[in-house]
Protein backbone atom coordinates (compact mmCIF):
# COMPACT_ATOMS: atom_id res chain seq x y z
CA UNK A 1 0.00 0.00 0.00
CA UNK A 2 1.19 3.51 -0.76
CA UNK A 3 0.06 6.95 0.29
CA UNK A 4 -2.37 8.87 -1.89
CA UNK A 5 -0.40 11.61 -3.63
CA UNK A 6 -1.62 14.88 -5.00
CA UNK A 7 -2.28 14.50 -8.70
CA UNK A 8 -2.22 10.68 -8.59
CA UNK A 9 -4.82 8.44 -10.22
CA UNK A 10 -6.11 5.40 -8.35
CA UNK A 11 -8.72 2.68 -8.57
CA UNK A 12 -8.97 1.51 -4.96
CA UNK A 13 -8.28 3.80 -2.01
CA UNK A 14 -8.78 3.30 1.72
CA UNK A 15 -9.90 6.59 3.30
CA UNK A 16 -9.52 6.85 7.07
CA UNK A 17 -11.18 9.54 9.18
CA UNK A 18 -10.26 10.94 12.61
CA UNK A 19 -7.95 8.58 14.50
CA UNK A 20 -8.20 10.35 17.88
CA UNK A 21 -5.18 8.37 19.16
CA UNK A 22 -6.91 5.03 18.65
CA UNK A 23 -3.80 3.24 17.40
CA UNK A 24 -5.39 -0.19 17.86
CA UNK A 25 -8.25 0.67 15.50
CA UNK A 26 -5.85 2.29 13.02
CA UNK A 27 -3.70 -0.86 12.97
CA UNK A 28 -6.77 -3.05 12.44
CA UNK A 29 -8.06 -0.77 9.66
CA UNK A 30 -4.73 -0.81 7.83
CA UNK A 31 -4.66 -4.62 8.00
CA UNK A 32 -8.22 -4.73 6.70
CA UNK A 33 -7.46 -2.36 3.82
CA UNK A 34 -4.42 -4.44 2.83
CA UNK A 35 -6.44 -7.65 2.89
CA UNK A 36 -9.05 -6.03 0.62
CA UNK A 37 -6.39 -5.05 -1.85
CA UNK A 38 -6.39 -1.27 -1.43
CA UNK A 39 -3.65 0.21 -3.57
CA UNK A 40 -3.35 3.44 -1.62
CA UNK A 41 -4.43 4.97 1.68
CA UNK A 42 -5.18 8.44 2.98
CA UNK A 43 -6.05 9.73 6.43
CA UNK A 44 -8.19 12.86 6.63
CA UNK A 45 -6.71 14.22 9.85
CA UNK A 46 -7.32 14.56 13.60
CA UNK A 47 -4.68 12.06 14.64
CA UNK A 48 -4.89 12.96 18.32
CA UNK A 49 -7.67 13.61 20.87
CA UNK A 50 -9.83 11.39 23.05
CA UNK A 51 -7.65 8.26 23.16
CA UNK A 52 -4.39 7.27 24.91
CA UNK A 53 -0.72 7.73 23.99
CA UNK A 54 -1.00 9.87 20.84
CA UNK A 55 2.56 9.09 19.73
CA UNK A 56 1.62 5.46 18.98
CA UNK A 57 -0.36 6.51 15.91
CA UNK A 58 2.54 8.01 13.97
CA UNK A 59 4.74 4.92 13.41
CA UNK A 60 1.78 3.09 11.86
CA UNK A 61 1.15 5.89 9.40
CA UNK A 62 4.81 6.19 8.48
CA UNK A 63 5.36 2.45 8.13
CA UNK A 64 2.50 2.11 5.67
CA UNK A 65 3.11 5.40 3.93
CA UNK A 66 -0.40 6.71 4.63
CA UNK A 67 -0.67 10.33 3.51
CA UNK A 68 -2.43 12.72 5.86
CA UNK A 69 -4.63 15.79 5.39
CA UNK A 70 -4.45 18.32 8.22
CA UNK A 71 -7.31 18.23 10.72
CA UNK A 72 -8.26 20.99 13.14
CA UNK A 73 -6.72 19.00 15.98
CA UNK A 74 -3.46 18.51 14.11
CA UNK A 75 -3.38 22.20 13.32
CA UNK A 76 -3.92 23.13 16.98
CA UNK A 77 -1.37 20.65 18.34
CA UNK A 78 1.23 21.49 15.70
CA UNK A 79 0.93 25.21 16.34
CA UNK A 80 0.43 24.91 20.08
CA UNK A 81 -2.92 26.71 20.03
CA UNK A 82 -5.03 27.01 23.14
CA UNK A 83 -7.76 24.56 22.12
CA UNK A 84 -8.89 22.08 19.51
CA UNK A 85 -10.97 24.55 17.45
CA UNK A 86 -14.12 22.46 17.69
CA UNK A 87 -15.90 25.54 19.01
CA UNK A 88 -17.80 24.08 21.95
CA UNK A 89 -19.85 26.52 23.98
CA UNK A 90 -21.47 24.07 26.37
CA UNK A 91 -19.54 24.12 29.67
CA UNK A 92 -19.56 20.32 30.04
CA UNK A 93 -18.40 19.74 26.46
CA UNK A 94 -15.74 22.35 26.95
CA UNK A 95 -14.50 20.68 30.11
CA UNK A 96 -13.91 17.35 28.35
CA UNK A 97 -12.55 18.93 25.20
CA UNK A 98 -9.99 20.78 27.29
CA UNK A 99 -8.97 17.68 29.24
CA UNK A 100 -8.32 15.66 26.11
CA UNK A 101 -6.59 18.53 24.35
CA UNK A 102 -4.17 19.11 27.20
CA UNK A 103 -3.45 15.40 27.54
CA UNK A 104 -2.82 15.04 23.81
CA UNK A 105 -0.67 18.13 23.62
CA UNK A 106 1.52 17.03 26.54
CA UNK A 107 1.98 13.55 25.12
CA UNK A 108 2.78 14.34 21.50
CA UNK A 109 6.52 14.51 20.81
CA UNK A 110 8.07 17.60 19.21
CA UNK A 111 9.13 15.45 16.26
CA UNK A 112 5.54 14.36 15.60
CA UNK A 113 4.28 17.87 16.10
CA UNK A 114 6.61 19.16 13.42
CA UNK A 115 5.53 16.39 11.07
CA UNK A 116 1.88 17.40 11.62
CA UNK A 117 2.76 20.95 10.67
CA UNK A 118 3.61 19.70 7.18
CA UNK A 119 0.20 18.13 6.47
CA UNK A 120 -1.59 19.87 3.58
CA UNK A 121 -5.10 21.29 3.96
CA UNK A 122 -6.34 19.27 1.01
CA UNK A 123 -5.13 16.56 -1.33
CA UNK A 124 -6.62 16.38 -4.82
CA UNK A 125 -6.37 13.15 -6.77
CA UNK A 126 -8.35 11.11 -9.27
CA UNK A 127 -10.41 7.98 -9.00
CA UNK A 128 -10.53 6.83 -12.61
CA UNK A 129 -11.83 9.85 -14.50
CA UNK A 130 -13.34 11.55 -11.43
CA UNK A 131 -11.69 14.45 -9.60
CA UNK A 132 -11.55 13.92 -5.84
CA UNK A 133 -10.86 16.55 -3.21
CA UNK A 134 -9.87 15.12 0.17
CA UNK A 135 -10.23 17.51 3.10
CA UNK A 136 -10.90 17.38 6.84
CA UNK A 137 -14.14 19.28 7.48
CA UNK A 138 -15.16 20.94 4.24
CA UNK A 139 -13.13 22.25 1.31
CA UNK A 140 -13.67 25.81 2.54
CA UNK A 141 -13.02 25.30 6.23
CA UNK A 142 -11.08 22.66 8.16
CA UNK A 143 -13.41 22.70 11.15
CA UNK A 144 -16.75 22.85 9.36
CA UNK A 145 -19.12 20.07 10.42
CA UNK A 146 -21.00 18.35 7.61
CA UNK A 147 -23.75 16.14 9.06
CA UNK A 148 -26.15 14.15 6.96
CA UNK A 149 -29.24 15.86 8.38
CA UNK A 150 -27.80 19.37 8.24
CA UNK A 151 -26.22 19.45 4.79
CA UNK A 152 -28.47 20.22 1.81
CA UNK A 153 -27.57 18.71 -1.54
CA UNK A 154 -27.60 22.13 -3.24
CA UNK A 155 -25.03 23.29 -0.68
CA UNK A 156 -22.76 20.34 -1.49
CA UNK A 157 -23.20 21.08 -5.16
CA UNK A 158 -22.06 24.65 -4.61
CA UNK A 159 -18.96 23.41 -2.77
CA UNK A 160 -18.19 20.99 -5.61
CA UNK A 161 -18.56 23.79 -8.16
CA UNK A 162 -16.67 26.40 -6.14
CA UNK A 163 -13.79 23.97 -5.64
CA UNK A 164 -14.01 22.48 -9.10
CA UNK A 165 -14.29 18.81 -8.16
CA UNK A 166 -16.61 15.83 -8.66
CA UNK A 167 -16.16 14.14 -5.32
CA UNK A 168 -15.51 15.60 -1.87
CA UNK A 169 -14.19 13.32 0.88
CA UNK A 170 -14.12 14.46 4.50
CA UNK A 171 -14.42 13.45 8.16
CA UNK A 172 -14.50 15.72 11.31
CA UNK A 173 -17.98 14.75 12.55
CA UNK A 174 -17.28 11.12 13.44
CA UNK A 175 -20.38 9.75 11.72
CA UNK A 176 -20.07 8.24 8.22
CA UNK A 177 -22.58 9.04 5.49
CA UNK A 178 -22.65 9.88 1.83
CA UNK A 179 -24.75 11.70 -0.74
CA UNK A 180 -24.77 11.36 -4.51
CA UNK A 181 -26.27 13.84 -6.94
CA UNK A 182 -26.04 14.84 -10.57
CA UNK A 183 -24.19 12.50 -12.87
CA UNK A 184 -21.06 11.70 -10.91
CA UNK A 185 -20.99 14.03 -7.97
CA UNK A 186 -20.68 12.72 -4.45
CA UNK A 187 -19.83 13.74 -0.92
CA UNK A 188 -18.40 11.02 1.31
CA UNK A 189 -17.92 11.42 5.04
CA UNK A 190 -15.64 8.51 5.83
CA UNK A 191 -16.52 8.48 9.55
CA UNK A 192 -13.83 8.03 12.21
CA UNK A 193 -11.49 5.31 13.42
CA UNK A 194 -11.08 6.98 16.78
CA UNK A 195 -14.43 6.25 18.34
CA UNK A 196 -17.61 4.39 17.42
CA UNK A 197 -20.32 6.08 15.36
CA UNK A 198 -22.77 6.71 18.26
CA UNK A 199 -24.80 3.70 17.14
CA UNK A 200 -24.48 1.36 20.11
CA UNK A 201 -21.84 -0.86 18.51
CA UNK A 202 -18.16 -0.86 19.34
CA UNK A 203 -16.95 -1.02 15.72
CA UNK A 204 -15.37 1.99 14.10
CA UNK A 205 -15.59 2.84 10.40
CA UNK A 206 -13.60 3.78 7.35
CA UNK A 207 -14.51 4.10 3.66
CA UNK A 208 -13.16 2.07 0.75
CA UNK A 209 -13.38 4.04 -2.49
CA UNK A 210 -13.24 2.06 -5.68
CA UNK A 211 -13.71 2.73 -9.38
CA UNK A 212 -16.32 0.29 -10.67
CA UNK A 213 -17.49 0.57 -14.27
CA UNK A 214 -16.16 4.09 -14.47
CA UNK A 215 -18.11 5.29 -11.45
CA UNK A 216 -17.22 5.63 -7.80
CA UNK A 217 -18.31 2.81 -5.50
CA UNK A 218 -18.16 3.54 -1.78
CA UNK A 219 -18.07 0.84 0.83
CA UNK A 220 -18.29 1.81 4.49
CA UNK A 221 -16.29 -0.79 6.38
CA UNK A 222 -16.89 -1.59 10.07
CA UNK A 223 -13.72 -2.41 11.99
CA UNK A 224 -13.88 -4.58 15.03
CA UNK A 225 -10.71 -4.22 17.09
CA UNK A 226 -9.53 -4.92 20.62
CA UNK A 227 -11.58 -2.13 22.18
CA UNK A 228 -11.29 -3.72 25.63
CA UNK A 229 -7.51 -3.31 25.43
CA UNK A 230 -7.95 0.32 24.41
CA UNK A 231 -10.23 0.87 27.40
CA UNK A 232 -7.57 -0.54 29.74
CA UNK A 233 -4.94 1.72 28.20
CA UNK A 234 -7.23 4.74 28.55
CA UNK A 235 -7.82 3.97 32.22
CA UNK A 236 -4.07 3.53 32.74
CA UNK A 237 -3.62 7.01 31.32
CA UNK A 238 -6.36 8.30 33.63
CA UNK A 239 -8.50 9.56 30.78
CA UNK A 240 -12.11 10.38 31.71
CA UNK A 241 -14.31 7.37 32.39
CA UNK A 242 -16.92 8.97 30.08
CA UNK A 243 -14.54 8.46 27.14
CA UNK A 244 -13.91 4.84 28.13
CA UNK A 245 -17.66 4.27 28.27
CA UNK A 246 -18.00 5.42 24.64
CA UNK A 247 -15.33 2.93 23.52
CA UNK A 248 -17.04 0.11 25.43
CA UNK A 249 -20.66 0.88 24.52
CA UNK A 250 -20.60 2.64 21.16
CA UNK A 251 -22.58 5.62 22.50
CA UNK A 252 -21.17 9.14 22.66
CA UNK A 253 -21.24 10.61 26.14
CA UNK A 254 -19.56 13.97 25.60
CA UNK A 255 -19.22 16.73 22.99
CA UNK A 256 -22.86 16.19 22.05
CA UNK A 257 -23.65 19.85 21.55
CA UNK A 258 -22.46 19.83 17.96
CA UNK A 259 -24.92 17.15 16.86
CA UNK A 260 -28.02 18.16 14.94
CA UNK A 261 -31.27 16.99 16.53
CA UNK A 262 -31.73 14.09 14.14
CA UNK A 263 -28.28 12.61 14.79
CA UNK A 264 -28.53 13.32 18.49
CA UNK A 265 -31.91 11.62 18.79
CA UNK A 266 -30.42 8.50 17.18
CA UNK A 267 -27.90 8.21 20.02
CA UNK A 268 -28.50 7.41 23.67
CA UNK A 269 -27.38 10.68 25.29
Amino acid sequence: MIGVEAGGTYTKVAAFGGVYSNHLALGAAIDDALSRGAEAAICLGDLGAFGPNPDKVFPLLREHGVSVVRGNYDDSIARGLEDCQCGYTDPRDNHYARLSYQYTFQNTSPKNRSWMATFPEEIRFRMGALDVLACHGSPRQTNEFLWDSATPTHFLDKLAQDFDTDVIVGTHTGVHWMRRWGDHRAYVNVGALGRPANDGRTDVWYAMLEVVDGDLAVDFVPIGYDHAALAIEMRDEELPEEFVETILTGWWTTCLEILPGKERAAGRF
Binding site: T89, Q141, N143, S149, T151, F155, K158, E257, K262
Partner: protein, 317 residues
Protein backbone atom coordinates in the same frame (compact mmCIF):
# COMPACT_ATOMS: atom_id res chain seq x y z
CA UNK B 1 -40.56 34.29 18.38
CA UNK B 2 -37.99 36.89 17.51
CA UNK B 3 -34.47 36.90 18.75
CA UNK B 4 -34.23 38.54 22.10
CA UNK B 5 -31.20 40.65 22.62
CA UNK B 6 -30.72 42.84 25.60
CA UNK B 7 -30.57 45.88 23.52
CA UNK B 8 -28.83 49.15 23.73
CA UNK B 9 -32.16 50.81 23.03
CA UNK B 10 -34.71 50.40 25.81
CA UNK B 11 -37.63 48.31 24.58
CA UNK B 12 -40.66 50.02 23.13
CA UNK B 13 -38.97 53.33 22.64
CA UNK B 14 -37.87 55.10 19.51
CA UNK B 15 -34.72 53.55 18.10
CA UNK B 16 -31.64 55.70 18.09
CA UNK B 17 -31.19 57.50 14.79
CA UNK B 18 -29.09 55.83 12.10
CA UNK B 19 -25.60 56.98 11.38
CA UNK B 20 -24.97 58.37 7.95
CA UNK B 21 -25.52 55.32 5.78
CA UNK B 22 -23.07 56.61 3.19
CA UNK B 23 -20.33 56.83 5.80
CA UNK B 24 -20.94 53.54 7.59
CA UNK B 25 -18.66 50.53 7.07
CA UNK B 26 -20.05 47.61 5.07
CA UNK B 27 -19.71 43.83 5.20
CA UNK B 28 -19.85 41.64 2.10
CA UNK B 29 -21.65 38.34 2.15
CA UNK B 30 -19.04 35.56 2.13
CA UNK B 31 -21.58 32.80 1.49
CA UNK B 32 -25.31 32.65 2.09
CA UNK B 33 -25.21 29.96 4.77
CA UNK B 34 -28.25 31.00 6.76
CA UNK B 35 -31.50 32.13 5.25
CA UNK B 36 -33.88 33.62 7.82
CA UNK B 37 -37.60 34.15 7.26
CA UNK B 38 -39.65 36.73 9.16
CA UNK B 39 -42.48 34.31 8.64
CA UNK B 40 -45.01 35.87 10.99
CA UNK B 41 -43.82 39.41 10.58
CA UNK B 42 -43.90 41.28 13.86
CA UNK B 43 -47.10 39.58 14.99
CA UNK B 44 -46.89 37.65 18.23
CA UNK B 45 -49.38 36.32 20.76
CA UNK B 46 -47.03 37.45 23.54
CA UNK B 47 -45.57 40.86 24.30
CA UNK B 48 -42.30 40.15 26.07
CA UNK B 49 -40.77 43.22 27.57
CA UNK B 50 -37.31 42.40 26.17
CA UNK B 51 -38.44 41.67 22.61
CA UNK B 52 -35.96 43.60 20.51
CA UNK B 53 -38.46 44.30 17.76
CA UNK B 54 -41.40 44.84 20.12
CA UNK B 55 -43.61 42.15 18.65
CA UNK B 56 -47.18 41.91 19.89
CA UNK B 57 -50.68 41.03 18.65
CA UNK B 58 -51.04 44.63 17.43
CA UNK B 59 -47.64 45.15 15.82
CA UNK B 60 -48.39 44.80 12.14
CA UNK B 61 -45.36 46.67 10.77
CA UNK B 62 -44.37 43.39 9.14
CA UNK B 63 -47.09 41.05 7.98
CA UNK B 64 -47.25 37.27 7.61
CA UNK B 65 -45.50 35.63 4.69
CA UNK B 66 -47.59 33.36 2.49
CA UNK B 67 -46.47 29.88 1.54
CA UNK B 68 -45.91 31.09 -2.04
CA UNK B 69 -43.76 34.01 -0.93
CA UNK B 70 -41.61 31.69 1.16
CA UNK B 71 -41.38 29.20 -1.69
CA UNK B 72 -40.07 31.83 -4.09
CA UNK B 73 -37.15 32.56 -1.77
CA UNK B 74 -36.59 28.86 -1.10
CA UNK B 75 -36.23 28.36 -4.86
CA UNK B 76 -33.71 31.19 -5.05
CA UNK B 77 -31.84 29.74 -2.06
CA UNK B 78 -31.21 26.50 -3.93
CA UNK B 79 -29.40 28.42 -6.65
CA UNK B 80 -27.38 30.26 -4.00
CA UNK B 81 -26.35 27.08 -2.16
CA UNK B 82 -27.87 28.00 1.22
CA UNK B 83 -26.91 25.71 4.11
CA UNK B 84 -29.73 26.19 6.63
CA UNK B 85 -33.12 27.83 7.10
CA UNK B 86 -34.38 29.74 10.13
CA UNK B 87 -37.99 30.75 10.76
CA UNK B 88 -38.71 33.56 13.17
CA UNK B 89 -41.24 36.28 13.91
CA UNK B 90 -43.21 37.28 15.89
CA UNK B 91 -44.41 33.81 16.69
CA UNK B 92 -44.10 31.55 13.62
CA UNK B 93 -47.07 29.42 14.63
CA UNK B 94 -49.32 32.48 14.38
CA UNK B 95 -48.88 31.94 10.63
CA UNK B 96 -51.69 29.68 9.37
CA UNK B 97 -49.47 28.35 6.56
CA UNK B 98 -46.64 27.39 8.91
CA UNK B 99 -46.90 23.62 8.55
CA UNK B 100 -46.98 23.84 4.75
CA UNK B 101 -44.06 26.25 4.78
CA UNK B 102 -42.05 23.86 6.94
CA UNK B 103 -42.86 21.01 4.60
CA UNK B 104 -41.47 23.00 1.66
CA UNK B 105 -38.33 24.02 3.52
CA UNK B 106 -37.65 20.55 4.93
CA UNK B 107 -37.68 19.15 1.41
CA UNK B 108 -34.58 21.26 0.74
CA UNK B 109 -32.53 21.54 3.90
CA UNK B 110 -32.28 21.72 7.68
CA UNK B 111 -34.70 24.00 9.49
CA UNK B 112 -34.72 25.79 12.82
CA UNK B 113 -37.92 27.35 14.16
CA UNK B 114 -37.62 30.00 16.87
CA UNK B 115 -40.82 29.67 18.83
CA UNK B 116 -42.23 30.75 22.16
CA UNK B 117 -43.89 27.30 22.33
CA UNK B 118 -47.19 28.67 23.60
CA UNK B 119 -49.11 27.71 20.45
CA UNK B 120 -48.17 24.05 20.18
CA UNK B 121 -51.16 21.88 21.05
CA UNK B 122 -50.85 18.11 20.61
CA UNK B 123 -52.18 18.11 17.05
CA UNK B 124 -49.54 20.64 15.93
CA UNK B 125 -46.79 18.66 17.65
CA UNK B 126 -48.05 15.50 15.94
CA UNK B 127 -48.01 17.23 12.56
CA UNK B 128 -44.48 18.51 13.19
CA UNK B 129 -43.33 15.00 14.09
CA UNK B 130 -44.73 13.69 10.80
CA UNK B 131 -42.88 16.43 8.87
CA UNK B 132 -39.64 15.77 10.74
CA UNK B 133 -39.80 12.03 10.13
CA UNK B 134 -40.54 12.50 6.43
CA UNK B 135 -37.49 14.71 5.83
CA UNK B 136 -33.86 13.63 5.60
CA UNK B 137 -33.06 16.97 7.22
CA UNK B 138 -33.23 17.98 10.83
CA UNK B 139 -36.07 20.11 12.24
CA UNK B 140 -34.84 22.03 15.26
CA UNK B 141 -37.36 23.57 17.63
CA UNK B 142 -35.68 26.40 19.49
CA UNK B 143 -37.66 27.47 22.53
CA UNK B 144 -36.78 30.44 24.64
CA UNK B 145 -37.57 30.21 28.32
CA UNK B 146 -36.44 33.05 30.53
CA UNK B 147 -36.02 31.46 33.91
CA UNK B 148 -36.54 28.25 35.80
CA UNK B 149 -39.78 29.27 37.49
CA UNK B 150 -43.04 30.76 36.32
CA UNK B 151 -42.29 33.82 38.43
CA UNK B 152 -38.96 34.52 36.74
CA UNK B 153 -40.16 33.78 33.21
CA UNK B 154 -43.63 35.29 33.35
CA UNK B 155 -42.34 38.60 34.66
CA UNK B 156 -40.69 38.97 31.26
CA UNK B 157 -42.86 36.91 28.92
CA UNK B 158 -46.32 37.32 30.43
CA UNK B 159 -48.66 35.39 32.71
CA UNK B 160 -49.05 31.71 31.98
CA UNK B 161 -46.31 31.62 29.33
CA UNK B 162 -43.99 29.47 31.44
CA UNK B 163 -46.49 26.68 32.02
CA UNK B 164 -47.60 26.69 28.40
CA UNK B 165 -44.04 26.57 27.04
CA UNK B 166 -42.91 23.86 29.47
CA UNK B 167 -45.99 21.82 28.61
CA UNK B 168 -45.20 22.10 24.89
CA UNK B 169 -41.58 21.10 25.51
CA UNK B 170 -42.89 17.95 27.17
CA UNK B 171 -45.11 17.18 24.17
CA UNK B 172 -42.22 17.84 21.76
CA UNK B 173 -39.92 15.54 23.74
CA UNK B 174 -42.57 12.81 23.79
CA UNK B 175 -42.84 13.15 20.00
CA UNK B 176 -39.09 12.56 19.57
CA UNK B 177 -37.85 16.15 19.36
CA UNK B 178 -34.91 17.43 21.36
CA UNK B 179 -35.87 21.10 21.55
CA UNK B 180 -33.08 23.60 22.10
CA UNK B 181 -33.95 25.61 25.19
CA UNK B 182 -32.31 29.00 25.10
CA UNK B 183 -32.08 31.27 28.05
CA UNK B 184 -30.28 34.53 28.51
CA UNK B 185 -27.81 34.49 31.38
CA UNK B 186 -29.13 37.00 33.88
CA UNK B 187 -27.35 35.51 36.86
CA UNK B 188 -23.78 35.60 38.06
CA UNK B 189 -21.31 32.88 37.08
CA UNK B 190 -21.35 31.22 40.52
CA UNK B 191 -25.08 30.53 40.21
CA UNK B 192 -24.81 28.77 36.85
CA UNK B 193 -24.57 25.21 38.18
CA UNK B 194 -27.62 25.74 40.35
CA UNK B 195 -29.65 27.21 37.51
CA UNK B 196 -28.66 24.38 35.17
CA UNK B 197 -29.68 21.81 37.78
CA UNK B 198 -33.01 23.59 38.20
CA UNK B 199 -33.56 23.52 34.43
CA UNK B 200 -32.80 19.81 34.28
CA UNK B 201 -35.26 19.28 37.10
CA UNK B 202 -38.13 21.27 35.63
CA UNK B 203 -37.64 19.83 32.13
CA UNK B 204 -37.20 16.31 33.47
CA UNK B 205 -40.58 16.59 35.19
CA UNK B 206 -42.29 16.97 31.81
CA UNK B 207 -40.29 14.07 30.39
CA UNK B 208 -37.45 15.93 28.69
CA UNK B 209 -34.56 14.07 30.27
CA UNK B 210 -31.63 14.99 28.02
CA UNK B 211 -32.28 18.66 27.43
CA UNK B 212 -30.24 20.71 24.99
CA UNK B 213 -29.75 23.89 26.96
CA UNK B 214 -28.13 26.90 25.43
CA UNK B 215 -27.24 29.68 27.78
CA UNK B 216 -26.72 32.85 25.83
CA UNK B 217 -23.85 34.70 27.44
CA UNK B 218 -24.68 38.09 28.84
CA UNK B 219 -23.93 40.63 26.16
CA UNK B 220 -21.07 42.88 26.94
CA UNK B 221 -23.15 45.97 26.57
CA UNK B 222 -26.61 46.05 28.02
CA UNK B 223 -29.70 48.13 28.32
CA UNK B 224 -28.70 49.49 31.71
CA UNK B 225 -25.36 50.78 30.57
CA UNK B 226 -26.69 52.74 27.65
CA UNK B 227 -29.84 53.91 29.40
CA UNK B 228 -27.60 55.74 31.84
CA UNK B 229 -25.61 57.23 29.08
CA UNK B 230 -28.33 58.59 26.83
CA UNK B 231 -28.39 58.59 23.07
CA UNK B 232 -26.07 61.26 21.93
CA UNK B 233 -22.92 59.36 22.80
CA UNK B 234 -23.84 55.84 21.78
CA UNK B 235 -21.32 53.77 19.99
CA UNK B 236 -21.04 53.12 16.28
CA UNK B 237 -19.00 50.74 14.21
CA UNK B 238 -16.37 52.75 12.40
CA UNK B 239 -14.11 51.88 9.47
CA UNK B 240 -11.16 51.75 11.86
CA UNK B 241 -12.95 49.24 14.03
CA UNK B 242 -13.50 46.97 11.02
CA UNK B 243 -9.92 47.20 9.76
CA UNK B 244 -8.58 44.28 11.80
CA UNK B 245 -11.91 42.68 12.66
CA UNK B 246 -12.81 39.17 11.41
CA UNK B 247 -16.03 40.03 9.56
CA UNK B 248 -17.08 36.36 9.57
CA UNK B 249 -18.05 36.84 13.22
CA UNK B 250 -20.98 38.96 12.11
CA UNK B 251 -24.19 37.26 11.06
CA UNK B 252 -24.55 39.57 8.06
CA UNK B 253 -21.43 38.00 6.51
CA UNK B 254 -23.26 34.70 6.10
CA UNK B 255 -27.00 35.40 6.36
CA UNK B 256 -29.93 37.32 4.90
CA UNK B 257 -33.48 37.83 6.13
CA UNK B 258 -36.56 37.47 3.95
CA UNK B 259 -39.69 39.38 4.97
CA UNK B 260 -43.08 40.07 3.40
CA UNK B 261 -41.71 43.54 2.56
CA UNK B 262 -38.34 42.63 1.02
CA UNK B 263 -34.88 41.45 1.96
CA UNK B 264 -32.90 42.58 4.99
CA UNK B 265 -29.22 42.18 5.89
CA UNK B 266 -30.00 40.32 9.10
CA UNK B 267 -32.88 39.72 11.54
CA UNK B 268 -31.50 42.21 14.03
CA UNK B 269 -31.95 45.23 11.80
CA UNK B 270 -35.60 44.57 10.99
CA UNK B 271 -36.67 47.89 12.51
CA UNK B 272 -34.17 49.91 10.51
CA UNK B 273 -34.39 51.19 6.97
CA UNK B 274 -30.61 50.80 6.63
CA UNK B 275 -31.06 47.06 7.08
CA UNK B 276 -33.22 46.78 4.00
CA UNK B 277 -31.17 45.66 1.00
CA UNK B 278 -33.33 44.68 -1.96
CA UNK B 279 -36.48 43.13 -3.37
CA UNK B 280 -35.04 39.80 -4.42
CA UNK B 281 -32.74 37.41 -2.66
CA UNK B 282 -30.23 37.43 -5.52
CA UNK B 283 -29.89 41.20 -5.22
CA UNK B 284 -29.68 41.09 -1.45
CA UNK B 285 -26.94 38.47 -1.63
CA UNK B 286 -24.94 40.67 -3.96
CA UNK B 287 -25.23 43.74 -1.71
CA UNK B 288 -23.12 44.30 1.39
CA UNK B 289 -24.70 44.90 4.79
CA UNK B 290 -24.43 48.47 6.05
CA UNK B 291 -23.30 48.72 9.65
CA UNK B 292 -24.99 52.03 10.43
CA UNK B 293 -26.89 51.12 13.58
CA UNK B 294 -26.17 50.91 17.25
CA UNK B 295 -27.28 47.28 17.07
CA UNK B 296 -24.28 46.69 14.81
CA UNK B 297 -22.05 47.88 17.60
CA UNK B 298 -23.60 45.26 19.88
CA UNK B 299 -22.81 42.62 17.24
CA UNK B 300 -19.31 43.93 16.83
CA UNK B 301 -18.68 43.56 20.54
CA UNK B 302 -20.32 40.16 20.95
CA UNK B 303 -20.01 38.35 17.62
CA UNK B 304 -22.65 36.08 16.09
CA UNK B 305 -24.83 34.68 18.82
CA UNK B 306 -27.92 33.73 16.87
CA UNK B 307 -27.03 30.44 15.21
CA UNK B 308 -27.63 27.02 16.73
CA UNK B 309 -24.25 25.52 16.85
CA UNK B 310 -20.64 26.13 16.17
CA UNK B 311 -20.11 26.20 12.46
CA UNK B 312 -19.13 28.36 9.60
CA UNK B 313 -21.02 31.42 10.65
CA UNK B 314 -20.17 31.40 14.31
CA UNK B 315 -16.66 30.11 14.25
CA UNK B 316 -13.67 32.37 14.55
CA UNK B 317 -11.19 29.74 13.28
Amino acid sequence: MGIQLPQATPPNSTPAPSADVEEAPTVELRALDQLWFQVSGTVCNLRCNHCFISCSPENHSFWFMSRDEVRASLDASVRLGVKEYYFTGGEPFMNRDMLGILEDALALGPVTVLTNATLLPQRTVDALAVLAAASPYTLEMRVSIDGVTAEMNDAIRGDGSFDRAIGAVGRLAAAGFLPIITTMQTWSEVETDGILAAFWDVLGKVGYDRPRLKILPPLRIGAEASRDRGYDEFERVTHDMMAEYPAELLLCSSARLVTASGMWACPILLDYESGRLAHTLEEAAARPAVLAEQACYTCWVNGAICSNMPGFAADPA
